[in-house]
Amino acid sequence: MSDAILWRGPAARAAFRAGTLDIAPAIPATLAWGLVTGIAMAQSGLNLSQAYALGLLAFAGTAQLAALPLLASHAPVVVTVLTALIVNLRFVIYSAAMKSEFMMLSFPRRLGIAYLIGDFPYVLFERMAPQYEPRLRPVYFLGIGICNLVVWQAGQLAGLLAAGRIPPEWGLEFAGMVALVALVVPMLRSRPGFAACAVGGGVGVALDGLPAHAGLVLATVAGIFAAVLADRLPRRAR
């Protein structure tokens, strides 16, 4: 193939380095968020090996934080996994948008790339990748993704280790809830986002008594319908 992907050589090294530099401004936020996730995991009744496994394998802060209260209250496994799935559904959009850049890679390499797709890396890559030749884009994405992975895992590890020394009375598991609030707030700025959150939350409150956390699942479905409807309503004249 004439346009084979470049993995080695000066141009590839430069593209990798550019990726790490481009994501560098996000490092403090990623570190802090990893730290909070680590602390919340350690304070929510997971043992250390479970917390490590979840952090390394799932590598999805929002889904991890969303799953924690469910794990702590021994919700049915199906509900916990379904909630994580719904929170992760946005990655399907990212995956679809990025597919064309990576489809010529081998299966293991595509798997590795997919593992690295997160919110920051996706947004950055979509914005910056056009500046690079297509054959350098995978290695550019690796620079972004690996830097993001290392920073996040370091924060999470620090949080896990620190939390072991903090007494549970401090209520640090609440940091996970505050982090979820911080994630929700920007979503409220768009009409469908607000509708999803308000209807999801309202129905969730109303159905809280249902067994097996069924209320959470039904409320989420209601919220998604509300978002799609809200986007369909005629817009006000500007």
Partner: protein, 108 residues
């Protein structure tokens, strides 16, 4: 089945959702075209799930909606949300939210 084993199942399941969603097109090469409605549903699913998770956790105490100042966590989370809305900083949101929650707990 014991709780420990169930927790492990949940951890494996959560991890699978990561690779299934991130890999849907990149790894598994789905040929589906995302219809506009489907894409909207996917895009706003997190807002719906997080709302459904966070609001009941903050509003309800002992099965009832509690808007009183006794509900310290609601107050702390609300102020944290205002910080996020105004300043957009994750770090300060968490610092303020946890600071207020701790203050209220110590004062109570």
């Amino acid at each position: 089945m014991n709780d420990n084993l169930l927790t492990w199942f949940a951890i494996i399941g959560i991890s699978l959702t990561t690779i299934v969603t991130r890999g849907s097109f990149v790894v598994f090469g789905s040929r589906l075209r995302l219809h506009r409605t489907v894409e909207e549903a996917l895009r706003f699913a997190p807002a719906a799930a997080l709302g459904a998770l966070v609001l009941p956790a903050l509003l309800l105490r002992h099965g009832h909606v509690d808007f009183s100042l006794e509900n310290q966590r609601l107050l702390a989370a609300f102020i944290a949300a205002l910080v996020m809305w105004r300043f957009g900083s994750m770090i300060w949101t968490i610092v303020v939210g946890m600071g207020i929650a701790t203050l209220l707990r110590l004062m109570a």
